[in-house]
């Protein structure tokens, strides 16, 4: 019974969240609360864990909630549930997308959409940068930024960011290798904090 509940809840979450993983979090919270699957502190953990593990946030949180509510099978059911709407909807859309791909009206629609997507990709970079380059929360006010500019900027991450840009543009390093190397760099740079 709980499996069916998990399946239905996560199909609902997959179906009604626009804008990717983070947009799902409030929906997941509502389902968890109405069924009492997790405690409030466990829910906060999900977000941290989902960010720190690879893969889509939607899948990470579905697996985690499902497991906490009903074990490994629960995790499986919730994950399948969150993926089903995407799978079906995208299948329907792609069929028509490829059919009308060459129609001039469609081409012009994408002429308008493509630059927007480029903007959205930049936006994603900006949002990650906000949580990365500043030591405090970004909701600090402007005067505070001007007063002690240097002390709130996390120099370590700026160095790694510059290194990444150079490696990607100059040497066309593979992104996967890049992630592994930067993880090791992060570990080395915090070495003294961990072991002393």
């Amino acid at each position: 019974m709980i499996y069916l509940q998990l399946l239905v809840s996560f199909i609902k979450i997959g179906l009604f969240s626009f804008g990717g993983g983070y947009a799902m979090i409030p929906l997941i919270q509502r389902e968890i609360e109405s069924h009492g699957w997790l405690s409030a502190s466990e829910f906060v953990d999900i977000i941290a864990i989902a960010e720190m593990t690879p893969g889509p946030i939607a899948v990470n949180s579905a697996t985690f909630v499902g497991y906490k509510a009903a074990g490994i099978l629960g995790g499986m059911v919730a994950t399948i549930g969150v993926a089903i709407p995407s799978l079906l909807l995208i299948l329907i859309v792609s069929k028509y997308f490829f059919k009308f791909q060459d129609h001039p009206a469609n081409k012009m629609i994408f002429y308008g959409i493509r630059p927007v997507i480029v903007g959205l990709i930049l936006t994603a970079a900006i949002f990650v940068a906000q949580t990365t380059f500043f030591k405090q929360d970004i909701t600090i006010n402007l005067s505070c930024i001007f007063k002690n500019q240097l002390s709130i900027i996390d120099l370590k991450s700026m160095v790694i960011f510059a290194f990444t840009l150079a490696a990607l543009i100059k040497f066309k390093l593979n992104p996967i290798l890049m992630i592994v190397v930067s993880g090791i760099l992060g570990l080395l740079m915090s070495y003294h904090e961990i072991f002393y």
Binding site: G19, P56, P104, I117, L120, I121, A124, A129, I184
Partner: protein, 197 residues
């Protein structure tokens, strides 16, 4: 013979998306650099300028962007089976990792080593996504209208907190308006070929 080569292709799709799923940290857009490398450059399954279309569709539909784009690319490469295999591939790594964490390390995110590793990965992700934006931009912005639309959408989302889906619909409306109102300009844009379908 045909079945065998299709099976091989499906296996390849699975492997590539499993790899992408294993290294996508921080949400759907972090997938773009990996898709660029694996799907566009290495396998040549999707052309550079089509990556944007994939994300346009993935963003406009409900659900996780990563799942949507995996399904879409999988469908493009090898139909329904391709989409199923790509989706399973992108999901499985997270499923395994999260299950392991949920079973064994309940305080995973507070471990100093994990924190240190992520203090390194996060800025790299910023770099990866920025470079991807430039690459995708080069392939998909063909004129000043495009530059303007890009800047406008960043401002709308970052400063005015407008939801992505509405900005996308706005872009579509601009394209459609040019199509309906300025046939000459439309012909010029389409004949330039810089904006391949």
């Amino acid at each position: 013979m045909k079945n065998k080569s299709q099976l091989k292709l499906l296996l390849e799709i699975f492997t590539v998306f499993f790899k992408i799923g294993s290294f996508t940290f921080g949400g759907g857009y972090a997938m773009i650099p990996l898709i660029e490398k694996e799907v566009v450059e290495n396998k040549k399954w999707v052309a550079e300028e089509e990556v944007v279309d994939v994300f346009a569709v993935a963003q406009s539909m409900p659900g996780a962007i990563a799942i949507n784009s995996a399904t879409f690319i999988g469908y493009k490469i090898s139909g329904k089976k391709g989409s199923l295999v790509a989706t399973i591939g992108v999901i499985l790594p997270s499923f395994f990792i999260i299950t392991l964490i949920a079973v064994f390390f309940s305080r995973f995110q507070d471990t100093p080593v994990v924190k240190a590793v992520f203090s390194g990965i996060r800025p790299a992700i910023v770099g990866l996504i920025s470079v991807a934006a430039i690459k995708v931009g080069k392939a998909s912005i063909v004129d000043n209208t495009g530059i303007l639309l890009s800047i406008l959408s960043v401002i709308l989302v970052v400063i005015f907190d407008v939801q992505a889906i509405f900005v996308i619909l706005g872009g579509a409306a601009v394209g459609l308006a040019i199509y309906c109102l300025f046939p000459e300009r439309t012909a010029k844009i389409l004949s330039n070929g810089g904006n391949k379908g």
